[in-house]
Amino acid sequence: MSRLIVGPFNRVEGDLEVRLDISAGMVADARVVSPLYRGFEAMLVGKPALDALVYAPRICGICSVSQSLAAARALAATGSVPVPANGGLAVNLIHAVENVADHLTHFYLFFMPDFARAVYAGEPWHADAAARFAAVKGTAAQDFLPARAELMNLLGILAGKWPHTLAIQPGGSTRAVSRAELARLGALLAGFRRFLERVLFADALEAVAALSTRDALLAWAEAARGDFACFVLLSQATGLNRLGRTDLRHMSFGAYPSSDGPLFPRGLFRRGVGGVLPVDRITEDVSHAWYQAAPDGAPRPPRDPGMPPDATRDDAYSWCKAPRLEGEVAEVGALSRQLVAGHPLPRDLVARDGATVEARVVARLLEVALVTMAMERWLRAIDAAAPFIDHTPLPAAGEGAGLTEAARGSLGHWVAIQGGRIANYQIIAPTTWNFSPATPPVRPGRWNRRCAAPRCETGRPSRWRYSTSSALSTRAWSARCIDGGASHPRAGPCAGGGLPAPCLAPGAGAGHRRQRRQRWRGRGHPRLGEAATLDGFQNRLGEGAPPLARIDTIEVWPHDGPAPQGFTIAASAAGTVRTGIVPDAATCPACRAELFDPADRRQGYAFGNCTHCGPRLSIVRAIPYDRANTAMAAFPMCPDCAAEYANPADRRFHAQPTACPACGPRLWLEPAPDAGTDPLDAAAALLRAGGIVAVKGIGGFHLACDATDTTAVTELRRRKARDAKPFALMARSVDEVGRYCQLDDAASTLLRSPAAPIVLLPRRPDGPPLPDGLAPDQDHLGFMLPYTPLHHLLLARLEGPLVMTSGNRSDEPQVITNEDARDRLAGLADAWLMHDRAILNRLDDSVVATTSGAPVVLRRARGYAPAPLPLPAGFDGLPPPWPWAGN
């Protein structure tokens, strides 16, 4: 089983992606995910009623006229606002231009370029299709784009601008059109007809509109030479009349009203039978959408206020609510519209093959012909001397629905006004009909149904993507896959990293006088001494080097002139001087001993460190790696710390992040506990009581809870909206890890290493019970040991291990600033254990497994980066173009 994520579909009105679970080359399950909360409905509540005309159309930059129209009609329906004939005609023209342009944009820019792709290179038609339809370069774009630009001039005259015109009002159009402008509009429309009849159809619009059967269409396409005929032939060659088949109810709200009735009527159609559309039986289901369920659990009609969003639901996966008609999925779009309207050609296509990709594209282009002819009629019917708008005010209270059709399908706005302000606003967009999440028992949205059977041809994803995508202005396509069997980037065990300063400390007591100048990667240390003692010194450098030190080279040369007095580290000179920065390292044994030593001045202090341990990459802002270039610049050293820092014999000699309770970072808990209560005691009490605490660590925030508390673990999973990914655990000691998991020497060494990664370990069958929710369906657990004094102090106050999962909502990076933690973890954490040492660089916990005793790094971050990895022979002195996959 693998998971294919198709996306992003670059919708102007928000992101959309499709998650496919694929088994044996077949789609086993499909989820349509809308990962962006729009919030328009919430924004509108409380606004003056007419503000809907400004806000609501911002939902979409492609179908903004449809949105304006739905808003204006919903407002008009709250009272009785008469629309003069001219107003209706002008609005129809504005709406029609947008819809026709959308159909052609879809055809020329999104759909047809697919046939130019190299996967079809072996087909006899490919060369011609590529020359005509290739993206950007094809000749079709050169014909179409100027024609579309000319057509859009109609909107300039009739609507002032596009998108987001304010010309469309409940009472008609604010833009009265003069006789001269009518003539100009007529010329523009005639020019557009010429384009259609020469390029797209290569035949009269009337001849296209008169096609009534698939056989007639095929015969016509054999004789015609336009782009539409080209599509029909390519559809035959590639079997588009067998692709994307559905058998759903087709629905249309109807469009383009006039005194003779709408051009396309409202209604339903399925299996040859039309019907009346019961608009009142439309509801929105939130079974798998991030909204609170209604108190009665039932789906709501859009005239009722929507439920507030709830991003913490773990049974939800989309921000789209699922619209249903009488509890069922309905298909919307040009095909549905033409089936409901009763045009014989789409009805014949669907009777033969069902609703398919071919039928949908044919319906779009048929509609282009039908609507263009109607536009000519509407234009002729405008009387420049008569009014275009009625200014009857809206009532102070009322309810109304504005139903129309965007190019992609049925669009509805529902509004309730009280005291002149909006009390409820609900929008059901076409994309939510076609791309909704599932509803119970299992009633997947339309796209899901289409996907459930077809083979997944990973090389050709775009056609099935586009088959429903009249809604989607898809700019580029890319597909990614999260594969259960994916290879992982591997890295070997990592060298400690170059920390030049402390490696010289062992020599300080040996009576040597040396000078050392920090250089690029710590190389090249000029020093003074006699030959014999220098040899001894060099040996001691290697033997006595502290855990984090790495010596690249030792260079010795004679020194002329007076010997310097004492040992100094020369100040890093500006310019070319470079020293490496090492990975963050877990609290060393010496610092840990101080932490629990009642006689030590750092006893109980959460931020102690030395040259062997502490934050490094996470706090560095720039080089050289001096305190002033780190997050510790905010903490001037007290005299005691400064003395340690300056003493070559001290463990804290040149430890840039060194700190103590007198001068270093402070720890606190939010919300503040009772006065006098230690923040660590208060945090521990909260954790023992089943609470969730955000804990600021080295490279980011964790969310912590008692790992033995089933309720707390379940609650954490619910709040994080994290379905099944295992939680990382932190135990106070290797022994405690060993109670739960099988440990060998390699794993114990890894746990204790300065990198202190999360180590994946097999569970002991005889271990103490742990909640199932820690790592559902996993026979391994991920444990790490405390790696900061703060962790040690917290774990020492608790009886068992903690869940320490990254502080974020699912799919986001963990937060690193206090401000973000308060903001983004609100609702996730009950309390925040924070400090004032900034995390400058985000570093996730590293994850390591072992295979036959050898570590395999699955995620290389804190504790390992940025230590260099040695490469095998052949990479010296390049500059090499060698790739390093990071995916």
Binding site: G459, W520, D844, L871, P883
Partner: protein
Amino acid sequence: MGGELKATFCLVRDGQAILSQHIGDLENAAALDDYRAMLRLYRDLFDFTPAVIAVDAHPDYLSTTLGAALAQECGARLVPVGHHHAHMAACLVDGGIGLADGAEGAVGLILDGLGLGADGTLWGARFCAGGIAA
């Protein structure tokens, strides 16, 4: 500069690889910001100006577009590399096989999800024959 889903980047110089920390999904704005910031920081920390930038062959990966922009800024040569080829080369190096080993006859099983292959189509799991250089 590799893929965009579990993104990292890598500086290569003098027989050493300096691999950034795991940064995450570049389609997340915060992760993309991190990626840019870490590139700046690592280049500064290691005083590194690339002469050659290898990017994934997929033109729409955000890491690829960043790499292309960086190549322009630094005057570096941009080398698109097939996704599976990059995985295979990384595995060979991880296994201690270098350029000097002449391992051009290696066979790799790349169990990846999707990546743009040498023929311009998306590849899934593949057996690949070749080596680091090709």
